[in-house]
């Protein structure tokens, strides 16, 4: 690389990093301000953590974070399990109709929820689970199927044939082969999927907005939106609330960023 190319590269990257991080740093700073009558930064040195406790109390955050946590805790393992089992079957077995069925999941990758949200709401309403966590949980599991099954079917396809054959020769059942051979081999992909699903479920907004209306059960994202809509403008508390809501996923991302990125590099798309 010539010196000039180096300079261009560095300049490009610096601008990019500033573009990416300045808004984040800015909002965090607003959240730390002692006072922000106009929504800007009044001081870079006089900072406080007080706004976080204000946001916590006024934004009903203990309720909403708990709601999101419950929803994630149930839907992510469930969805991951469903996708793992299906991925194993699609990836390691062959039977008539396998191709078209897998194609169905891939096709479903293209379905935007605008085409499905309305009926799903009324279906759950008829079942009687609207305004409960189940409406959100079951829908999130469904939404995770297209990408999850596709992604894991690719992963399981990568398990070497010889290993599967060897297990068969050893008289292992399908389940044992899964549990002892294929599953462990695909653990990295499975955990990547779980990480992505955690992010998608936690960050979801429109569907939980429609499904849940009771104050105590709103998810973190919906609660933040309502907090923003309240009459009295408290910029610092709002910024603090935003940070709190974003924190779980961002924290997971910081520790697992390779996994997240590996998933997205393969074109991760949520329904």
């Amino acid at each position: 690389m010539t010196k000039r190319e180096l300079w261009v590269t560095n300049a490009c990257l610096t601008i990019a990093v500033v573009f990416a991080l300045a808004p984040v740093v800015g909002i965090v700073l607003v959240a730390l301000q002692v006072t922000s009558p106009g929504g800007g930064i009044t001081s870079l040195t006089n900072l406080t953590l007080h706004n976080f406790s204000t946001a916590w109390a006024q934004g009903y955050m203990s309720d909403s974070l708990r709601s999101s946590a419950i929803i994630v805790a149930i839907s992510v393992p469930t969805a991951t399990l469903c996708c793992t089992l299906a991925g194993y079957a699609f990836g390691t077995m062959r039977w008539p109709g396998r191709g078209p069925l897998l194609g169905l999941f891939v096709f479903a990758l293209m379905i935007p929820i605008e085409g499905t949200l309305i009926p799903i709401y009324f279906i759950w309403r008829d079942v009687g689970i609207v305004d409960t966590y189940w409406a959100v949980i079951l829908t999130e599991v469904g939404y995770s199927m297209p990408f999850g099954v596709f992604w894991l079917s690719q992963a399981f396809r990568g398990v070497p044939r010889e290993l599967l054959e060897a297990a068969r020769i050893d008289r292992a059942s399908t389940w044992q082969t899964f549990r002892l051979v294929a599953g462990p081999m695909c653990m990295p992909a499975i955990t990547t999927l779980a990480a992505l699903q955690f992010m998608w479920v936690w960050n979801d907004f429109l569907m939980p907005l429609v499904m849940i209306s009771s104050q105590g059960r709103l998810t973190a994202t919906v609660s933040l939106s309502f907090f923003q809509g309240e009459y009295v403008v408290n910029y610092t508390a709002l910024a603090a609330a935003s940070v709190i809501v974003a924190l779980p996923v961002v924290t997971a991302y910081i520790f697992l960023q390779r996994k997240f990125i590996a998933g997205f590099a393969s074109g991760a798309v949520k329904a």
């Binding site: 009558p37 929504g39 009926p119 009324f122 279906i123 309403r125 008829d126 079942v127 009687g128 609207v130 305004d131 907005l209 429609v210 849940i212 209306s213 009771s214 104050q215 105590g216 709103l218 309502f226 809509g229 309240e230 009459y231 009295v232 403008v233």
Partner: protein
């Protein structure tokens, strides 16, 4: 082709047969018609209360009326009076009540008491589906007809087939009320050598004086959408008789938006913007920012609802006052306002009388006093005996307003809030002419038939 449908049974069938559409007789949403009230006359709502243990659930909208603590206090007081009754409050965000209450009211676990505003979005459908009980049976005996002024009660009347608002039986009682008035800053007024304006001419001259002195004449912030509606309706009200606006709201015969007053108001609105009388960047800043601006003493006036009184009083104290927007000389006028959300009794309630007694309590003097203490305006005819000049001025304005009250303009059709918000923004931003504005609103209005 009319048919009822249960989407769940539809899904089950589809999944089994892998064929999308099958028509199945419905299991859901079979409303029972409300029982006709034929009780003996003049029975008070709290007379002869049952003594067995009862649980009473009521829906409540958060952030629009009492604080959570205030509601909890009132619930406790009611339960102390009737120890066999357990009151359970179900707080909901109002944005979601519109889409979920009709469904909840028709389901198996309907609450005893529903919360609703007037109009065709919530109350009309509830009445039409027979999901709420008429309150006539207890009204006389409990004194409800004199507790509120007629315009306040009218907003909770509906024809029993849900076809017309504003007439017929009474279906809900409100606890709080609001109206759109003129907040003023006393310090700034005296600084400019002005009195509280009582005529339109005085008002206009005070605006220009403030502008010349470098003070923002009218605080405004509408990035959050709905607040912009009042930038128009406050002017419309000032020159329009209540009969015309009520006809529009209640879809009386020949009701139309295409009137000379509405056109004149649109032109006036544009003029005020052009004269620079509103906060700069009012389209891009929220109402919260406008409130903050006014409460910090940076603007002379703020035309908005009493629901913003809390933070304004907090910021300016008795330095602030409230009056109605001064009418134009010799012109009939209206004031936008009315009851806040009202409590209605579900026709599926097992204890309608207990529900009626609860509603009576929550809209009565004890609840009103607590609400006033929180800075609110009660819907009932209330005599304020405190010492705050701000609150006194608010009640004084309310007394005048409630004689010429008209409902919030967007109640007239289900999508009118969105339409008005968008159209008024475009009007004030000079993207459409006053003529286009009137025509476009009229078009949206005529597309709806109750």
């Amino acid at each position: 082709m009319r048919h009822r449908m249960s989407l769940f049974s539809l899904t089950a069938a589809s999944v089994l047969m892998l064929v999308p559409l099958i028509l199945v007789p419905s299991v859901s949403a079979s409303p029972s018609r409300a029982q006709a009230a034929s009780a003996p006359a003049a029975q008070g709502a709290c007379a002869n209360m049952p003594s067995k243990p009862i649980t009473l659930t009521y829906w409540d909208a958060t952030g629009l009326y009492l604080s959570d603590q205030g509601a909890a206090t009132l619930d406790k007081e009611f339960m102390a009076k009737y120890p066999n009754v357990k009151v359970v409050r179900v707080p909901k965000a109002f944005a979601t009540i519109t889409s979920t209450e009709r469904l909840a009211a028709s389901g198996p676990n309907a609450p005893d008491v529903l919360v609703t505003n007037g109009g065709y979005v919530l109350l009309g459908p509830l009445v039409q589906a027979g999901l709420v009980l008429p309150l006539n049976k207890w009204a006389a005996g409990s004194g409800w007809n004199t507790r509120f002024t007629p315009p306040v009660l009218d907003q909770f009347r509906f024809a029993s087939d849900g076809s017309q608002w504003g007439v017929g039986s009474l279906y809900a009682l409100p606890a709080g009320a609001s109206f759109i008035g003129l907040y003023y800053n006393k310090t700034l007024l005296s600084k400019l050598g002005l009195q509280v304006p009582t005529t339109w001419a005085q008002f206009m001259s005070s605006l220009s004086k403030a502008k010349q002195a470098g003070i923002v004449p009218l605080a405004a912030g509408v990035q959050d959408g709905w607040p912009v509606v009042h930038m128009y309706t406050s002017l419309q009200d000032d020159i329009t008789p209540t009969s015309q606006i009520n006809a529009f709201e209640f879809h009386s015969a020949h009701a139309t938006f295409n009137t000379s007053q509405n056109l004149k108001a649109a032109k006036l609105a544009v003029q005020l913007v052009k004269d620079g009388y509103y906060s700069p960047n009012f389209l891009g800043q929220t109402s919260g920012a406008a409130i903050a601006q006014f409460a910090a003493g940076k603007a002379l006036y703020y035309i908005q609802g009493t629901y913003f009184a809390g933070p304004i009083y907090k910021g300016l104290g008795n330095n602030a006052g409230m009056t109605i927007v001064p009418p134009m000389a010799g012109s009939p006028y209206s004031v936008t306002g009315g009851p806040g959300l009202g409590y209605a009794i579900s026709s599926k309630s097992a204890n309608p009388q207990v529900a009626a007694c609860f509603i009576d309590f929550r809209t009565g003097p004890q609840a009103a006093t607590l609400y006033v203490g929180e800075g609110g305006l009660p819907a009932m005819n209330y005599k304020y005996t405190g010492s705050s000049t701000f609150i006194k001025s608010m009640f004084g304005a309310w007394a005048r307003a409630s004689k010429s009250l008209v409902p919030y303009l967007d109640f007239a059709t289900p999508n009118l809030l969105t339409v008005l918000t968008s159209e008024i923004e475009e009007l004030l931003g000079s993207k459409i002419t006053p003529n286009q504005f009137v025509q476009q609103v009229e078009q949206a209005y005529t597309q709806f038939t109750p």
